[in-house]
């Protein structure tokens, strides 16, 4: 589904990713771990097409298409969802309206008819109850006054509504209490299917107790330095990044 080859990314003239390779097939869940400043968030932004993240070398292919030629919103239309580390607040825009606008933008991109208000309301209610999100929350402005956990849960609601085929979840687990962590994990596990794939960016292996990845990669200094399975995350938890970097060197 996603194929990244020799990816080099600069931010403000500074090289962050320096030749990253990663292939993710449909049905797989990959986890990327790494120390602060390794380039984890840069990778997610580069895949999503955020402005200011300059690709100086390499390629990103998504479902056979040159992803780098597409604009940010077109990548979303192709089925990419980026669960953000810090979901932004949009004052004055209700969650409900935002979701409807986003969903219909994506449906238009896919040449599907827009969803009418009544149909949408039913649809969103069922998604919200799946993720145990209070319907009242959908009436509030996007992320405004939400707790850290509520914001992350809201990201999961958006993911469920927009129905992407590939999700990048950037530290979705950070700042969550154990209940919220469970809800978020359930969201990811429900998303898992033979057709879908996910890339989970995380600091701790805690989330991986709930969402068992097929592959775990260690990102350090702009490259993937080690790849393994769930046990790699456990090893990391025990010995720290230092041990891995020493191994790699």
């Amino acid at each position: 589904m996603l194929e990244i080859k020799d990816l080099h990314v600069e931010v403000g003239g500074t090289g962050i990713l320096k030749g990253l390779n990663l292939t993710i097939n449909a049905g797989e869940v990959h986890a990327i771990m790494g120390p602060n400043g390794a380039g984890k968030s840069t990778l997610s932004y580069a895949i999503a097409g955020k402005e200011g993240y300059e690709i100086t070398k390499g390629s990103v292919t998504f479902k056979g298409k040159n992803f780098l030629a597409l604009e940010c919103h077109e990548r979303a239309g192709e089925g990419l969802f980026l669960g953000m580390q810090y979901p932004v607040e949009i004052p004055g825009v209700s969650n409900m309206n935002f979701l409807k606008t986003a969903l219909n933008s994506i449906r238009r991109y896919k040449d599907l008819p827009e969803m009418a208000a009544v149909e949408f309301l039913k649809f969103i209610r069922s998604k919200a109850s799946e993720l145990k999100m209070d319907i009242e929350m959908l009436k509030r402005s996007v992320n405004v006054g939400f707790s850290g956990g509520e914001k992350k849960r809201n990201e999961m609601v958006q993911m469920a509504v927009l129905e992407p085929c590939f999700a990048v979840l950037d530290e979705t687990d950070s700042g969550l209490d154990i209940d919220a962590l469970r809800t978020v994990s359930e969201g990811i596990n429900r998303f898992r299917s033979p057709e879908n794939a996910a890339l989970i960016i995380t600091h701790y292996q805690r989330l991986l107790d709930y969402v068992v990845p097929d592959f775990v990669h260690i990102l350090a200094e702009g490259k993937i330095v080690k790849t393994g399975d769930k046990d790699l995350a456990l090893y990391l938890e025990e010995h720290g990044y230092g041990a891995i970097e020493n191994d790699a060197a």
């Binding site: 919103h73 979303a76 949009i90 986003a102 969903l103």
Partner: protein, 487 residues
Amino acid sequence: MVSTAETRKAVEDVSADYKYGFVTDIDTEKAPIGLSEEVIRFISAKKNEPEWMLKHRLKAYKMWLKMEEPDWSLLHYEKIDLSKTYFYSAPKSAADGPQSLEDVDPELLETYKKLGIPLKEQEMLAGVQNIAVDVVFDSVSVATTFKKTLNEKGIIFCSISEAIIDYPEMVQKYMGSVVPMHDNFYAALNNAVFTDGTFVYIPKGVRCPMELSTYFRINEQNTGQFERTLIIADEGSYVSYLEGCTAPQRDENQLHAAVVELVILDDAEIKYSTVQNWYPGDKDGKGGIYNFVTKRAACRGVNAKVSWTQVETGSAITWKYPSCILQGDGSVGEFYSVAITNNHQQADTGTKMIHIGKNTKSVIISKGISAGKAQNIYRGLVKVMSNAENARNFTQCDSLLIGDRCGAHTVPYIEVKNPSAQMEHEATTSKISEEQLFYCQQRGLNIEEAMGVVVNGFCKDVMIQLPMEFAVEAQKLLGISLEGSVG
């Protein structure tokens, strides 16, 4: 929400040219060029006005001659050469006074279609849409609808020209009672040369059953447009009035200097909403409408209420301060404003709240958005007179900047002469955040839609004040107005 398929299409439609930038070819009867006593007599005669109206005009003209164009605002523009301006033009077919839509010039009707005002359809759909439209095309009202329904309630909704002839006592009593003819340079000019506008009277205890709506339109090249609107809400009555505008594309600047007077008696309420979308000039600031308007409401009665809501997206220059004179005890004045300026547009707008009566309240919510090289100025006065016990005001002025070449300025004046007054003033200035735009784009919205969503959110406190019919149009306008300001 701005980003519907329809909106997207609308944005695409205007991507090259201003959507409403067309010119209708209709024979007009013009007054001689420039301004003189002779021209005023010509206008008055054309309109078969009574002698008192002509005297009123001439008096205003003599006052105006002694006045100077104000230059205290932060606006920069080339002065209009009034000696090269036509002060009167009327579509020929209208000069004979069409009695119904069938008598209206077909080309005129075509113009409305282009503007998206299917007048006939609207009349037929009256029961559904509940909008009566009194269209001002150039200077003469050519069609008035729904008079019958309104008549049954005793509501008068007609052109000001008709009112001058049919209801002279009322016009003489109230015209100029809120905005005196010597009030300012443009108001004096309006008094001398106004050609048409709207007159509304809501009788005692009557709640107007529909939104009253007027679409203004400037058409003739070099023709100043001087509307005159007078709305009177008698005791215990209520009316919601909508005013919306579009204009064709022109190279030369067009002057618009309207005067709007609202009179609100005991326990009555007027809600006045405006969506202003006149041609703002091209990307280099060429052309565009000069909009120098005087709008004022007098809450004469006890517990009278007035609410101004405006969405200002058009015009090269906007100079406009819808104001409230809170004379009656317990009267309430509200001002909700969204002003968007893009490219080279300039807007100097705000309000005046004059608290005279006891327990009077006012609310000011102003949202200014600047993009491109535009300048946006909020200028407001809250004045509490010495007898106004327990006056209250809440003011909130928020500015949003898009890009780094535009400007936002807030100029609040507060004068309090009674110690029991409570004044609150909040102001913020922020830049549209890249993070917000990225978040929206990652969820599938293109850059224009993303901008529309964030800006509509910023303006929400004002937009919710608009009647439903207007809110949708206004939301679209916000997106369209900012088109090309990012990316």
